[in-house]
Subunit: 412 residues, 2 copies
């Protein structure tokens, strides 16, 4: 496994582009991009479980079922969400325009949108953008597409690794966006409504792997990465994660439980976790990335309840910003999480510092040490309920002035 965070090596057969077509007012901001595979590619994906799904999600859920795709068009600045029948028509038209420009079938094109909600897409600009983007496709331009999907993001998010199947080397490159309205709970379209961001993430690999195996692996990876982050607890109408595997590495397609498939899953999880944590790091106004690790809960479901109650609590999140080990707020959040536990048994750690032992504060010295831990940009809060074997971890950000500033007047 080799990392290359900044200038990922090209993945055989994939081309990218990013342009400014005027969806955003600022001419220096890219707002439309295309991902293209020279040959039809196996595809798997996961989408928001929000019941108010944006038009591109509705279309994507249909298209992905065939397991085959060749291009994805993505725009930022406008989410094409809550736009009614016109929104669906516009999403469909975007795929047709891209198919036409790329000389492929519209059925092989997916579309994603992110940005403002409830405003019809400026289709004249979008059409011009698609034509331009299709003409600029290049194997070296992944960072252009990564820029073109940014909304309130402060930095672009790309991560790449390479792996091997026997002597055959393959590449995985992933990029994403996401800063606010982040608490993805994505599910593949074939599964029911799940629980609870706009986050978008795209993965390209030249590995040969069939769509079904790809979807199974991708589900597990999404569940352990994107579905484990929260910035504001607000789940988006547009969350989308897609992976395309065009097989140009030339290996024999992976079988599900093979060591090669497991190695691929580990590589993919590394890329996805890197992107997910970059989203928390870029969480609107965030200054901290905090892992909430729950241990000793009755079961995983209860551990999950505790992790989210603590990770979403405005009082806990403001204390992270203040670097104040205010563990009473954490214990209160555990208390209303719905999990069964005995407060007099709980241990709470900030990093390696145990600040609460069996429900009561340790020493003032520990309090000071915990405060030191919290000065780091990233740290772990461990909660041990000492009740059972349930464990769960999520990543959350702090809550501070900049979140308010960014969101109080977003539309004006």
């Amino acid at each position: 496994m080799e990392n290359n965070n900044n200038i990922p090596p090209p993945v055989r057969g994939f081309k990218y582009s990013g342009v400014h077509c005027g969806i955003k007012d600022n001419p220096n901001k890219l707002d439309l991009g295309i991902i293209y595979s020279e040959i039809p590619s196996q595809i798997a994906g996961s989408f928001t479980t929000n019941r108010a799904k944006a038009a591109p999600v509705i279309l994507g859920e249909k298209r992905i079922k065939k397991g085959l795709a060749q291009a994805v068009v993505v725009n930022s600045g406008n989410a094409n969400a809550c736009t009614g029948p016109l929104g669906l028509q516009n999403a469909q038209e975007m795929t047709e325009d891209a198919a036409h420009a790329l000389k492929i079938s519209p059925e092989l094109v997916l579309v994603s949108s992110t940005g403002k909600i409830g405003i019809p897409l400026p289709m004249e600009k979008v059409r011009n953008g698609i034509r331009q983007a299709a003409s600029l496709l290049d194997s070296q331009s992944v960072s252009q597409t990564a820029q073109a999907i940014m909304t309130t993001d402060k930095f672009i998010k790309i991560h790449a690794v390479s792996g091997s199947v026997g002597k055959i080397r393959y590449q995985i490159v992933g990029f994403g966006k996401g800063a606010g309205m982040i608490e993805p709970q994505m599910r593949p379209p074939t599964r029911g409504w799940g629980r609870h961001a706009t986050m978008l993430a795209y993965f390209m690999t030249d590995l040969a792997v069939g769509a079904k195996v790809l979807q199974t692996i991708f589900n597990r990876v999404v569940d352990l990465t994107f579905n484990r982050i929260t910035v504001d607890g607000d789940m988006s109408t547009n969350d989308t994660a897609l992976i395309m595997a065009n097989g140009l590495a030339g290996n024999r397609p992976l079988s599900l439980n093979s060591p090669e498939a497991k190695a691929f899953e580990r590589c993919l999880e590394e890329v996805a976790l890197s992107l997910a944590l970059k989203m928390v790091e870029d969480g609107e106004g965030a200054t901290k990335v905090v892992q909430i690790l729950v241990k000793g809960a009755k079961n995983e479901k209860e551990a999950r309840k505790v992790a989210y109650a603590v990770g979403r609590s405005p009082l806990v999140k403001t204390s992270f910003f203040g670097q104040d080990p205010n563990w009473g707020r954490i214990l209160a959040a555990i208390g209303y999480s719905g999990a069964t536990f005995d407060p007099s048994r709980v241990d709470i750690y900030y990093g390696p510092v145990r600040i609460v032992a069996s429900g009561v504060a340790t020493t003032l010295e520990d309090d000071e040490k915990a405060h030191e831990v919290m000065k780091n940009p990233t740290f772990t809060v461990t909660l041990d309920l000492k009740k059972g074997k349930g464990t769960f971890r999520i990543w959350t950000s702090d809550l501070n002035y900049d979140y308010v500033k960014l969101n109080a007047e977003y539309r004006t």
Copy 2:
């Protein structure tokens, strides 16, 4: 029904006091108070459903079961929460000290605490405070006790009404505190764990009403008032609401379904709702009190889910601060609430202005009108799902810079 918000008339037989005993550093801030009835009084109450209950809550739940009490000791500055066995011992000792000073049985004394979590009470100061407070009891001093329970509150919260049973006039006076860690879901001790503040509220009346009838009426009132507000979605370990009815008005004790009991319930609800809305108005940093009214949900349970998803959403709450009718965030929150609905049928109103009709935006003019509505300190957002007859309403605040400021370094 007569209102008297500022100088409530004395309620026969009740006396109050508030002192500074040093739990708070600032010598100008009161931090301990006593409510006392000259004769043993019928009592009913409702407590936090947080599983990490503070010591005074645990003790209060036991004591209240007899339906009889004569005094309540309340301190601010220290919540006596997450303090282990020592905390319980200290809570018990507070009731004993008060009982001794008042020459009554400790079993007739309840205690409430609010403030910092996880720090043992400074019992020497508390003991002196109780002695002093017991010596200063006065029928005119309700506002002293109301001051003594304030923590981050900016103003005192008192409301009084009077009613009559036949020719007999009775008084109800209520006072409370609460600004942060507010999302009470209180239940009487005899019921199971409920769903999901520190808020404290005390009601005194000279009406004659038995403890059982009083508890039944109080449950309904608490459910429609305190259990319908949210500031930050964080439920406290200490929420407590108590009502004492000493019967000195001299009426025949009320029977449950009598017109007189209904009239009393209406009076009580008026007092409780006034206090609950004052808590939202004083919500840490709040500039807005917004009623979220959900109509047309499949049932009340689903209407409740929608109301809380919208009322808790940081993105919706920051848009209230920005006075930006960003209805897309509302529709997204409905979408992840868990309620069943068709996004293409939803109507959204800001005050009387319908800004979304059947899932799509109306006009830019309406957007401007909605912005005007949002300039008011209080307004209603109505969400009509047009699916069934389920309805639910809650009250929430905006989220802004001052909330962050107040909470980022609370302990330092």
